[in-house]
Symmetry: C2
Amino acid sequence: MQPEPTANRPQTRIQRRNRQAILDAALDVFSQHGFRGATLDQIAEVAGLSKPNLLYYFPSKEAIHEQLLTGLLDIWLDPLRKLDPKGDPLREILAYVHRKLELSRDYPRESRLFANEILQGASRIERVLATVLRDLVDRKARVLMRWMEEGRIAALPPHHLIFSIWALTQHYADFDVQVRAVLGPGHDPYAEADAFLETLFRRLLAI
Amino acid sequence: MQPEPTANRPQTRIQRRNRQAILDAALDVFSQHGFRGATLDQIAEVAGLSKPNLLYYFPSKEAIHEQLLTGLLDIWLDPLRKLDPKGDPLREILAYVHRKLELSRDYPRESRLFANEILQGASRIERVLATVLRDLVDRKARVLMRWMEEGRIAALPPHHLIFSIWALTQHYADFDVQVRAVLGPGHDPYAEADAFLETLFRRLLAI
DNA sequence: GTCTATACTCTGATAGAC
DNA sequence: GTCTATCAGAGTATAGAC
């Protein structure tokens, strides 16, 4: 019998399950307390493992954190990558806003993990920011620039336009507690935000 | 001789200076690492005091943190409080955006302290959010509502309009590292943001 | 592969000399 | 008021039994 169909990944089902449980628990804890505020005790408890057992799967606290960040980066940048230079400008931007808000709604822990990381100086992802992220943003900013020059959307500084999309969508994940405390009960923040942001960017970009 | 002119504040000059140095150092550390990630060792080092000496001025880590938060709340809410129901709607809102962005530029550590606190569940300020902040926002939302009903600015959900101002202005303090990494050198993020946000809210609120 | 036991460091806080 | 010394507990990580 061959219990390991993938030859280059010598992991049993249990190993895969445990690694996943650890990463999930670590996402909980890191996103709430930041790297230094998180403890292996807490991660192990949430994951339902003993601390030494946790350290059998990952060599260190750093390693778990790094695995989380790199594993999530692609999901995080995907919506911007999907912005299609050949599509209809307004439709493309609104679709980007919508997808980004969906990420905030469906992956709030991931949003907070990145927020914590940036807030704390981003020392562990600084290089990625200045290379991968910057290149991607520059590329898409040129697309926006072209659309503006062609008169298809209003002229605005493209980088700051992108920042505004990040700020407005991520706010609903990162400041969720505050949003709900201010709105009070009986509200659906994300549904309201979806309508509000559509209006906002339609008005902002209209010629 | 009377070295203490204020009878109800039995503090010498040195005590005041040290307390201030501690709070300033604590703002550095708490705003960068969050409550749990901050250590008294680090705060004491930044403040230039020994750890026991620091604990002579404040009874505990919690006490320093609480003092910081309550001391800063007034500064933080001041711009919104200044929004004048009798003023010109567009001018008042733009002035609010401007003042809020100035706070981000001049008090980025304070912005990050609050961001960390919300991000980490806001357990230490939850009550304030649901009472003081909510009341203030509700009151100002009613002012915005009236302006909209009078047809003086565009109709939008007022709470989310306020959220958008918070998100857009605080982003430049909280995500400063990312903003600078993406823009690259040779930029003045706050100057650019000031112009961009003025354009954004003018377009958004125009009738 | 998983557990118990434990080494060793860091952290918040206190005691007591000066 | 400030320092040295120190404590108890929590923190990361390792050794070794099973």
